[in-house]
Every structure is written in C-alpha cells, then in structure tokens.
Symmetry: C2
Subunit: 365 residues, 2 copies
C-alpha cells in the first residue's frame, strides 16, 4: 500500500492499493470520524460497489446507511443535494455523522459539497472509483454542483478526511473510463514530471491492461503532483491554474461537443493544441507535440478534433470559458515537459491555425 | 463611531454608528473586496433601504446591482439561493465580485450562505438592519438555509469581511422588532456581563425610545461579548453553546407556537425559565428570576407562556431541539448573572413544574 500525506489546512492521507475497499471498515473504525456514516453513491455504482461496501461496513459493526441518486452529470445539481440532505435528516443523521462519497467525479463533487454544508459541515471520506476521480477530483478539496448556466458554479473548498483509492475497482468500469483518466495522468507528466511522462511512454501497454504495479505508480505520482500544487495554492488564486494545461481548448471542445465526449478525450486534444501553440510562439525549447501525440495515441486517446466539430465552433466556446479572468484568456503552455508557463491572450490567428491543423487528416484544409 | 475587531481565522471589523449607511460606499472603495457588488435584500428592505444604498454606491462609482427575494422566513431555502445565484451568473458576476447582505437575520443567513458557495466562495459584507441581526446573527459566521425538516439544516461557517451596523435604521422597522433584539441583549448580560445587565435596567426607557447613545453601547457590548465567545469556539463545539441561554425552552416555545411569535419574545420566556430552573436546582447563588423578569417587563418583553400554549405542547418540542446531543438535553443555566454553567438533563419534573409556574397568572394551576 502507498500512503500520501496531503498538507492542506486540514492535512489528510490518501491510501492507494488494489483491493483496498475491503480494508476500509477497519480503517474507518480507527479513524472514528463519526458514530454513523452516510454512504453516498449513484445508481450505477451503488449496485455493484455501494451495496457491497455497506455490507462490509455493517459486518464490521460500523453504523452505515446507503443513499443513492440517479447516475449522470444531470444529477449534479442543488435539487439532488437537497434531496439527499432531507433523506439524511429523516434518517436521523446528526452532527456526529460523516459522509462517504463512493463513485466517480460527480459523486465526489456532490457528496463532498453535501458534507460541507450538512448541519454546517460534517467530515467526509472519498472513495473514487474511476481513474479520473482517483487522479484528479479526489485531491484538491473542490466540491460543487452545476447550475443551468454552467458547471461547478456553486460549491466549496472542503478537504476530505481520508481518500481510499482502490485501483482494483477500475476494471468494473468501461475501458473508455480508464483512458479517460490516463489523459489527466499525461497532463501531470507534462506540467510537472518528465519521469512520469517517460514512465507512461514505457508502460502504456501495461496500463491499458490494468497492470497493478503500473497503475499504483501513476496514481501515486498523479496524486503527489496534484497535492503538491494545491497545497501551495489551496484557494486557486494562481499556481494551481497550471492544472488547466490542455483544459482551455479541452473545455471548449467538451462544450462544443455538448458534453457527449469524455473529459479526458477532450483534454488530450487540448494538450496537443497547447503543445503546438507553445511551439508556434517559440516558447518551447524542444519539440513537444510529436512526442505528446505519440504517447496519447499509444494510450488510445485522440489527438485530433472530432470529425463533427469545426474550429469556429470551438473558438466560440473559448471565450466563454471560466478561465477568462477580467476578460483575458490565459493559456497554460510549456517551455519543456515539466516546465509550464502562463501565457495571456495568445494571438487569435495562432489558436485558429492550430485548430485547423488538428482537424482530422483527410478533412484538413 | 465604535469599531470592533473580531479575531476569527479571517479577522474582520464591525463598525457601529447612527447614519453609517451613507459612509458605506467610501469605506467599501477603500476595502476594495471586488470590482462589483451584488447587493442582496428582501422585498421589504429593498424598497426603503436597498434602492437607497444602491444609488449611494453607484453615485460613489461602486459597480453594484440589487438582487431581491421575497421577504419572510419561507424564502430561507435552497431555491432562493439557486435563484439568486443564477441571476448573478446571468448578470456576469465572476469571482472578483463580492456580496452585500442588507437586511435582517434571514437575509444575512441566506446571502452569507450564497456568498460562501458562489463560485466556491466570494467575500461578503453584512449590513444588518434589525436589532436582532445587529447583535446576534451578524457576528459568528453562521450562514444557512432551512429544509422542510427543520431550520438552518444546510449552511456554512463563513466570516464576513466587514459588518456595518447603522442603528439609525432601526426606527424604520416595527417597534416589536426593537424589543425582539433587546431580548438577545439581555441574554448577553445574563451570560457574560453584570454591567450590561445593570445598564439595561437603568436605560430601558431610553432604549425603547431609540436613544442613540444607549443603543450604540448595548450593540457594541453585545457584539463584543458574542465575538469573544465565538472566536474561542469558531466551529461551535463547546463554549459557544452558552449563547443558547434561554434558547432551549425558547426554541420549544417558538416551535410550539408554530413560529408565529418573534424569536426574542420566546427567548425572553426561555430565559426566565432557565433562571428558575437554576434556582430550583440550587445552582444559583443568588435569586435571579425576579430581577430578570422585572428587566424583561421594563423592556416590554413577555415573561410568561402565551395563553394558547400548554406546558405539554412545549415539552414535546424540547426533545426535538437541535441541542439534543447524543440524545442528551443540555441546558445553559446560571450560577449568577455573568456566570453560566452547562447542565445536562435537568429532572423532567423540574422543567414541567417551571413551565406550570410560568403559565399566565389567571390560568396557573
């Protein structure tokens, strides 16, 4: 088992191991965060993991109740939070309770937010079950829900008291979700660790076969890098924005595709775009995009704009991106792998030219 | 002007003065919390104070927009929060904005909560306009909304960046609201300051005539006492519960009366009950209830149970009170004025006997 201490205002530990789920009950008893646990998961995860964990907890003598909400991003709103809170109140959950978020990013964000406002805040535990949630949303303390006007517009910064990462559960999800998470791991390599980048190049095939040792390494490294960045900037004022590498254009693609593409797939394309822009602006001191594209391809990730989208559709969403600060569009670019730089307002032509170049080869203009 | 520094994790100042509202724009410009302000108030306050303040701010060159919600406790729910947030998003309020809560306790709790979760938290300013809000809810950082299952069940601990208390606006509210706030001031005297208690005895008449000097003194002292207590116990784990003096039975009366009685009126009766229980248990080293009842009467506050309620109706709500911790009912009692003690589970007969004695005189059994 790997253990990682995250030094936020309220420090906590991330535990990483295959099969860790079965060890959660005993560990929770030792942690002793509350006299009752509200286990929250969505209608998919509850079926094959939620019920199991509930049984494990109850067998270990941990008082626990399972609360389920409908799976999908469309549940990530305040109505779901209020509905879950009401169920918890009716079930008699008082301030001495704790929340367990079991699931992907939506569950983590939603249940974390619920925990942060339930009776003005109760402790919570994260058990991310998708690779994306394991390497991204379980570290950093961001919680939140969507509004019809946009994603994550209401939320809190609220740290979990412990994160359990069991990479053994990844195989219960569709293969696409593994690749989805790998895109964010590539991001950590790009912005912070040439070693991780090389490791991914070397072990791509093993990762795609869910090899335990390789998974454990990349999850640990991703969490370590993210934790290092967010502890230096807990409230997201500056440095933390390096985590947006690939996300500026990535989000625009995601929105232009009406959120029908997986997040990591869009980020993969966004990273290639950011690498190319770095090259075009002569910021990069070495060629980046060929090596990056090759790695992404070996991980089964896209490197070109989806066939049904045009550069114009994407740039339309670029300016609406949340990263517009005081009306300025900030890109995270790379000097080399491991050395990110902020760049405000790259020339419009360079962005457009880059997007043109990333059209599918047969339709490139 | 009196200034009070509150030493919470994020220290802030409370400014107290008659006519202070006109000085808010210049002071805000100096504070510079954001490039835009969302001024939030209810449909009553917005009419005669909200529009005025908005005009003052705009004339001073402070970018400001007024957002109004329907007056009343029934608005204190998540739907109102979501509705206000959506309006702010549509109006383009980004992370560099700040919220101003202008109004009574409901507005403070609601707008403070909104500020704490809007884009994961933006700064906010409190301008409490009722005496109750000025001496109570504007200090302590508690924000929140109600659920159908109970009051304040969702919320955060979130400190304002500044509190402006203009006691000149108190006369714009019905007289009952002045007395409502005075009950909480009496509470501060009981739990922490024999001097404040004596001051109230001496100046009761002047206070009921809105005399500036007397108001300034009691507001300052109340905020000072509350700030002292909450800074020692920001997350409400222990000491802070002395603020519940009079509230255990007070809340039960409020609930039994279906929230049709003003909070302070119920607390007044609850304080007399707590004083009597202190005497019956021989905890008090001096007679308390006669002097307390006399003060409350001189402030136009009730000291006996409303005619339409029975002790049985009240005890029914006692056990449902949020102050039940692990099933135990904790009372705040008094050894003498200024010296509170926690007391768990006073004998049921003593509570019932006390309530019997507090029935209106002509109907006492």
């Amino acid at each position: 088992m790997r253990r990682l201490k995250v030094q936020t205002d309220h420090p906590y530990e991330i535990l990483i191991e295959g099969g860790l789920l079965t060890e959660v009950p005993e560990d929770l008893k030792e942690l002793s965060l509350g006299h009752r646990y509200a286990l929250i998961s969505d209608s998919n995860v509850s079926e094959f993991l939620g019920e199991d964990l509930k049984r494990l907890l109850q067998e270990a003598g941990v008082d626990c109740e399972l609360f389920v909400f409908p799976a999908g991003e469309s549940s990530k709103n305040m109505d779901t939070v209020v509905e879950l809170a009401r169920q918890m109140v009716k079930a008699g959950f008082d301030r001495k309770c704790a929340v367990i978020a079991l699931g992907g990013g939506v569950t983590g964000d939603l249940a974390g937010f619920l925990a942060s406002i339930y009776l003005r805040g109760v402790p919570y535990i994260q058990i991310p079950t998708s690779l994306l949630a394991q390497v991204d949303s379980s570290v950093g303390g961001k919680t939140g829900v969507d509004l019809p006007e946009g994603k994550n517009l209401l939320g809190t910064f609220y740290q979990p008291r412990r994160v359990y990462i069991d990479y053994g559960v990844l195989a219960t999800l569709p293969f696409e979700h593994l690749k989805n998470g790998l895109a964010e791991v590539v991001k950590y390599g790009c912005i912070s660790s040439p070693e991780l980048f090389s490791f991914l190049e070397e072990k791509a095939d093993r990762l795609l076969h869910y090899e335990a040792q390789a998974l454990e390494h990349i999850i640990y490294e991703s969490c370590r890098i993210k934790a290092e960045i967010v502890t230096q900037d807990e409230r997201e004022s500056g440095l933390r924005r390096v985590l947006n590498f690939g996300h500026t254009i990535g989000h625009a693609i995601e929105a232009a595709a009406n959120y029908e593409l997986l997040h990591g797939f869009c980020v993969a394309i966004g990273m290639v775009a950011a690498a190319r822009i770095s090259e075009k602006l002569d910021l990069s001191v070495e060629p980046l995009s060929p090596r990056l594209a090759k790695l992404l391809e070996s991980l089964g990730l896209p490197t070109r704009i989806p066939r049904n989208l045009s550069p114009a559709q994407i740039t339309k969403f670029l300016r609406a991106d949340k990263k517009v600060w005081k009306g300025r569009l900030t890109f995270v670019l790379l000097r080399r792998f491991g050395e990110p730089v902020f760049y405000e307002e790259p020339p419009r032509e360079i962005i457009e030219e880059t997007l043109e170049e990333l059209l599918p080869e047969e339709t490139a203009s």
